[in-house]
Assembly symmetry: C2
Homo-oligomer: 362 residues x 2
């Protein structure tokens, strides 16, 4: 998939290599907390978050940022929605392990400060925290001059956060251990690109409409900039709610970089299983429009973007029906979209610009 | 102090304003965890870290970065020491509230990846974790292209982290509530600038030696770049050790941005007290040399830089003597440096290039 790597603007293999190195070093520090508070729980390698023992409770910790989606805020001058994206990236990684996000600390790197923009960013993060039911307990703003770049003349910034969450002593983490052949897969629908794949999106838009592509009118009456800025839906409150209502979640994939195939495979690999996804939600129309503008092959689109499915949950078919009904009542669009199969590999009936059957080997 | 703000390369007032705004938004989210796991503990406003209730235990969370000190790594090509700086910035804020750091998650923003540099950075962070007795449990590496700038041709990056730590149910946080007139102040000595005030340091060096100032030989046989890169000493293990040995710590100031006056004032203000610091450790010779090169007034130097005192601990005179002795045995240079006074304001017998009596009002 050299083509894909090139077109995404990033070298995914090098990224994985660097992450593995970083994790290798990190792992050597685990013994520091052996039999003490903060001891990492074993067996969660490769999960979306991590987990530490603190006596009666276990705490999980997860970090993420919103990458180059920030350029959309800089281009549109709309700063009060990307807090949702930041929140979603962090807490939905926790939720993917069945963990209830409780607290968040954020770090804002800026070239120079603009009080009004900082206020709008934090307002958005606050709004997202209210949706998530989480307390923002920490933050750091660093003025770094030329070390931070961006678009236009106003404040440039990069923004990341670390969230922690709790798993009561009586509850097991959701890590794929209970996934079985015949389980159902439920897709929680996204509202757009969330915070992944924007390097390619920006490249396509610039090639299609020139440097001021964000101001280009979209046929829905908004500008393309506003359309692409569409905020992330935060899934974690629904995941927590499902658990509290007694639904047993066998596995959860947060669809981030690597798309459905990579992230679902992380959950299925534990027991060497696969999946057939024949009723995925359709991507948002503007996602397909971007795909068409960039002549992005269907397979690449499904590897780089969520294509309408922001989170995939694996559970028994009976629970899947119940979950879809409950989520519908609570206002989260969700649907059964496929089945767990007995052999590795994901077969996916795609719904992008060139709908087809895609096969992803593991 | 307009002069100081200008010379530091940052507008401290605007920074404070933005931080207050951010904290204002964050505070509105605290009620989300009312009577639930992760409920922020009240009464720690303005502390160095925060604290959340998790049943039997309380967890604290703190975020920080290493600012523009990164340029020193880029200039010298030495990447395996700034992990100490990152660790120190984060865990010593926790230690300043008497909290034992247990886990850390880091976020590395890069323009493009360089595997060798990532490896050295993480190696350094690992080494610092071994010193701290902490497990690095999370990390995120984000490739952000032109959003990240820096010096030279190799990988540019910004690096920050969030640490969590624990306070057992039986122990009160160190937050200045026990500080009394007549208490002693103990200074834990730094080895250099740690991670604060580098904007001004870099400006002075460039003005003195030109764009390649890092390669300029220092009289100790190293280059100026190597000298300024000197890693941070991590104080938290000693703070934890003192508590475990039964020494009652009344207040702790981590000397970061704002220097001794601002950070000590944060601890003293609870009871409207002041301090007379008449035996501070001398700054490292190279700190005074930088001060002289930049003709930095003594007062400014003490506001922007730690000037040799990386952490100040307040305790009874009797415990102060014991602590200095214990720390000496454990390899941490420390000394009694002053006394808590009954009225606000800090009187400081400075030891920089132009030693004098400085008065800082609160």
């Amino acid at each position: 998939m050299v083509e894909e790597k090139k077109s995404s603007g990033m070298d995914i293999d090098l990224g994985n290599l660097c992450s593995e190195r970083a994790y290798g070093w990190a792992k050597k520090t685990f013994a520091n907390r052996e039999l003490r508070f903060g001891m990492p729980v074993k067996g969660l390698d490769g999960s979306f978050s991590n987990l530490m023992n603190y006596g009666q409770v276990r705490i999980a910790m997860s970090s993420d940022g919103i990458g180059t989606k920030i350029e959309l805020a800089e281009r549109t001058g709309i700063y009060n929605t990307i807090g949702y994206d930041l929140m979603a990236m962090v807490v939905d990684d926790l939720a993917a392990n069945g963990i209830e996000p409780t607290n968040l600390s954020n770090i804002l790197d800026v070239n120079h400060l603009d009080q009004e923009i900082v206020d709008q960013l934090m307002h958005g993060l606050h709004d997202a925290a209210m949706v998530t039911g989480l307390a923002v307990v920490g933050g750091e703003i660093a003025e770094l001059g030329d070390r931070v770049g961006g678009y236009g003349e106003r404040m440039h910034f990069n923004w990341c956060a670390t969230g922690i969450g709790i798993l009561p002593a009586s509850v097991e983490p959701v890590d794929g251990r209970d996934v079985r052949e015949g389980d159902a897969v439920v897709a929680l629908e996204s509202m757009g690109f969330r915070s992944n794949g924007f390097s390619l999106v920006r490249k396509i838009m610039a090639a299609s409409f020139g440097p001021d592509w964000h101001a280009e009118p979209h046929h829905d009456g908004r500008t393309w900039g506003e359309v692409l800025l569409t905020r992330s839906r935060i899934f974690s409150p629904w995941i927590v709610s499902m658990r509290e209502q007694g639904i047993s979640l066998h596995g959860i994939a947060h669809v981030t970089g690597g798309g459905i195939p990579d992230n679902l495979a992380r959950v299925l690999k534990r027991h060497g299983l696969g999946a057939h996804l024949d009723e995925l939600p359709p991507p948002l129309p503007f996602m397909t429009e971007v795909q068409t503008l960039g002549e992005v092959p269907e397979e690449t689109a499904y590897r780089l973007w969520n294509m309408g499915a922001g989170m995939l949950v694996i559970l028994t078919p009976r629970d899947a029906n119940l979950m879809v009904e409950l989520l519908g009542r609570e206002g989260c669009p969700a649907r059964r979209c496929g089945t767990v199969t007995g052999t590795p590999g994901i077969i996916l009936e795609s719904r992008g610009a060139e709908a087809q059957t895609l096969e992803f080997k593991s």
